[in-house]
């Protein structure tokens, strides 16, 4: 009888831990955060978004009057299909996700599902001009450089340097979003544009298009396209002996570009891309600390190419910092809202909270702006020997420290 009583007492002691939504030993409740990204089609992008979110979820310890919350990440593969992306968001809501971290594909339709369910949706990769709209899409936030900001910074950087610029985009969603941004940023200087070309994103050979660009008198190319198209442009230009400077948005730093040109590393030299700065004025310390945590947790992201000195090249987790930051801002908002019972309160709180971002920058949104990366934060980096360094002829980029990219 005594044993039975003792057993009952022990069982009773464990009872509270069994209650709640996915409770753990410390009786914290677990909240689900969905990551909706193209894991199968562009694994680098999908993986980096999910890993950044996972790292922040691991660290989250949300304290409210209602108790402690922890975050759990669940991955949903879009395969770069808008239809699948929408289906995923519907499923994530049904699964009880409190928020969606999204690469951006399909957001034009999926935001509405999330909005109807009062779920915030945070884009952490695509910068499309229309994806975020404070008035029309009040639940959509973004921590990633905008196409608008990137295009304006590229125009500001390129126009004084080059007389005639060839603008090349591909027919992917990414490329077509780029067209809108480029059109606006070059609208005040139409004389600077030598030619505008749209190329197929699955073209095997871009030699004819590159020949047209060369004949147009272009002395620089701005290529807003998927990594494979960027590699195709470089390949066609260099193999024809045209040493034209090539500029790209952030897709230029995708490991796929270097992997495709691994047999001709010199063709990558000089490629200049615009991206969100991974370090801030405070120095590289915060990003290096983030990179260390990231690599301890997930290992290094090998690009699969080597420097001329024979060192392995690794990809810094610069895009992972955006999903990391979004989940941290979300956690701060849940804490300010006192939990997730009132979903609208969480969305409102997203306007009022800030965190220190992985690069040391202040990160947050406000009532006037759902963009977490300001346009000023776009920097330029140039490849040399398969690694990139911030350029020295741009005031912002010149203040930044190069990131370590070899092992």
């Amino acid at each position: 009888m005594k044993r039975l009583t003792l057993l009952s007492l022990v069982l009773c002691a464990f009872l509270p831990a069994c209650g709640g939504d996915g409770g753990s030993e410390d009786s914290a409740k677990t909240l689900l955060v969905a990551v909706n990204a193209p894991f199968s089609r562009t694994p680098y992008v999908g993986q980096t978004i999910a890993d950044g979110a996972q790292l922040a979820a691991d660290e989250a310890n949300i304290q409210t009057d209602e108790g402690t919350y922890r975050l759990r990440i669940k991955r949903y593969d879009t395969g770069l299909s808008a239809r699948r992306a929408v289906r995923n968001v519907r499923q994530a809501i049904a699964d009880g996700a409190v928020a969606i971290v999204d690469e951006g594909t399909g957001v034009n339709a999926s935001w509405r599902l999330a909005n109807d369910a009062d779920r915030p949706l945070g884009i952490t990769y695509q910068g499309g001009v229309d994806l975020v709209d404070l008035e029309q899409r009040p639940n959509v936030f973004r921590i990633a450089p905008t196409d608008h900001g990137t295009a304006f910074r590229l125009a500001e950087y390129l126009i004084p340097k080059h007389d005639k610029i060839g603008l090349i985009v591909d027919d992917s969603t990414y490329g077509q979003e780029g067209v809108k941004a480029i059109r606006e940023s070059f609208s005040h200087n139409p004389e600077s544009v030598a030619i505008r070309l749209t190329v197929p994103s699955d073209a095997a050979d871009l030699a004819p298009e590159i020949l047209r660009a060369r004949r147009s008198g272009a002395d620089a190319l701005l290529v807003w396209a998927q990594p494979t198209t960027i590699a195709g442009v470089l390949s066609a230009a260099r193999s024809s002996g045209w040493d034209v400077p090539v500029y790209t948005p952030a897709a230029g730093e995708d490991p796929l570009v270097r992997q495709q040109l691994a047999n001709h590393p010199e063709w990558v030299d000089g490629l200049t891309f615009a991206a969100g700065r991974p370090t801030a004025e405070v120095g590289p310390g915060p990003f290096l600390a983030f990179q260390r945590k990231y690599e301890d947790r997930f290992g290094v992201q090998l690009v699969g190419v080597k420097t001329p000195e024979g060192e392995e090249v690794v990809q810094p987790p610069d895009y992972a910092m955006y999903s990391y930051d979004f989940v941290n801002v979300l956690a701060a908002a849940i804490e300010k809202a006192g939990g997730v019972e009132d979903r609208q309160k969480v969305i409102d709180a997203l306007h009022q909270v800030s965190v220190q971002g992985a690069n040391g920058d202040h990160r947050g949104f406000n009532e006037n702006n759902h963009e977490g990366v300001v346009d000023d934060d776009v920097y330029f980096a140039r490849f040399g020997g398969m690694i990139y360094r911030p350029v020295k002829d741009d005031p912002l980029s010149a203040t930044l420290t190069p990131l370590e990219q070899v092992r």
Binding site: E281, Q352, Q356, H362, N366, E367, N368, T399
Partner: protein
């Protein structure tokens, strides 16, 4: 014995002046004795998790536009704040303000953000960057910080300097050498338009508490239009010797426009007697501090840096309110009556059935 006598004489010599001298005292410290506002400082404005950046090397200009009704009573306050960053670097700046809405101002090279009681700026300055924002403010929390009151009555428009306050001060017999230093520092700081800090003066004897009236000197100019007539006016209202400007007007419906600027402090000739010079120095120090307050209706991210403000008061029809409509008591009670009605409608048949079966 001789040594003892010498030591005694030396000790007495050292003790004698010390017995007559009181320890140095601070001049009344403006943040302690003057009202806290302006600049406007809503109590609930949030704080950033990171310290603001870019706190030096910037200019702050403000244009405060006050809409007035036909009696001169303010009904709206808008501020155009222009911050010019003059060096290279990251910036994260917040301006506390009872803000209703914020929109980019003319020439702004960045978009202003808005949070509860905050205007937010963030980005990178490539060497020079203009940050300009129009902010619509909540009237109740901003009207009290305005520098003048305008009163429109039949026969006259009166503009009154409203910056005057009575503050605690003291009088005393100061040590002339120490006072000369402090007085010089106050005067040179005012000339250089920088805030003097750490002003301590040696005294001979004790202090006597006093009350002192301090005000920001204002340059006022404007026009009143009545019918076809245009009546210009201008004047300096120091708020102590002259606080009001009265403009006689003919009969009719006047339209008033008043432009007000805090005016630089006029440095008087130093007073001759030490006691009078101390009083003059304290008055100068506090008057300058009060004037600096009205140079920043909204706080500058660099409170000690260059700032200026112009206040424009205009007779104007009230704009549609941007303030979120408060839940009116009438609305709440209407809902309450509807709920009560529905409840009664549902309860009555049930009650009838219960009664019939009882």
């Amino acid at each position: 014995m001789r040594r003892l006598v010498v030591a005694g004489v030396v000790a007495a010599a050292l003790w004698a002046p010390a017995a007559g001298a009181a320890p140095p005292v601070s001049l009344p410290w403006p943040p302690e004795v003057l009202p806290r506002t302006p600049p406007l400082a809503p109590e609930t404005s949030g704080v950033l998790p990171l310290p603001p950046r870019f706190l030096r090397g910037l200019d702050n200009r403000e244009r405060v536009v006050v809409g007035m009704d036909e009696n001169g009573k303010p009904h709206s306050v808008r501020v155009l704040q222009t911050i010019v960053l003059k060096r290279l670097g990251d910036y994260v700046l917040t301006v506390p303000a009872p803000v209703l809405s914020v929109t980019p101002g003319p020439g702004s090279e960045s978009q202003p953000g808005r949070r509860e009681n905050q205007i937010l700026w963030e980005g990178f300055s490539p060497g020079r960057r203009v940050l300009a924002a129009w902010a619509d403010l909540r009237l109740a929390e901003s009207a009290a910080g305005l520098p003048v009151e305008v009163k429109v009555e039949p026969g006259a428009v009166t503009v009154r300097n409203a910056t005057g306050v009575i503050v605690p001060s003291f009088s005393a017999e100061p040590d002339p050498v120490s006072l000369a230093q402090v007085s010089g520092r106050v005067r040179s700081s005012i000339k250089a338009d920088v805030f003097p800090e750490g002003l301590n003066v040696g005294l001979r004897g004790t202090t006597a508490p006093e009350r002192l009236r301090v005000a920001a000197p204002l340059r006022v100019r404007g026009t009143v239009r009545v019918g076809g007539e245009r009546i210009p006016f201008s004047g300096r209202l120091d708020g102590v010797r002259r606080s009001e400007l009265r403009v006689p007007i003919p009969e009719g419906k006047p339209e008033v426009e008043v432009q007000v600027r805090p005016e630089d402090i006029r440095l008087p000739r130093p007073a001759k007697s030490p006691r009078a010079l101390l009083a003059q120095t304290i008055a100068l120090e506090l008057t300058y501090a009060r004037k600096r307050q009205f140079d920043q209706f909204l706080a500058s991210p660099d409170p000690t840096g260059p700032s200026s403000a112009t206040y424009v008061y205009r007779t104007a029809a009230p704009r549609p309110s941007a303030e979120p409509a408060a839940t009116s008591g009438e609305g709440s009670s209407t809902v309450g009556w509807i709920v009560l009605g529905l409840g009664l409608a549902a309860a009555l048949p049930v009650a009838a059935v219960v009664w019939a079966h009882s």
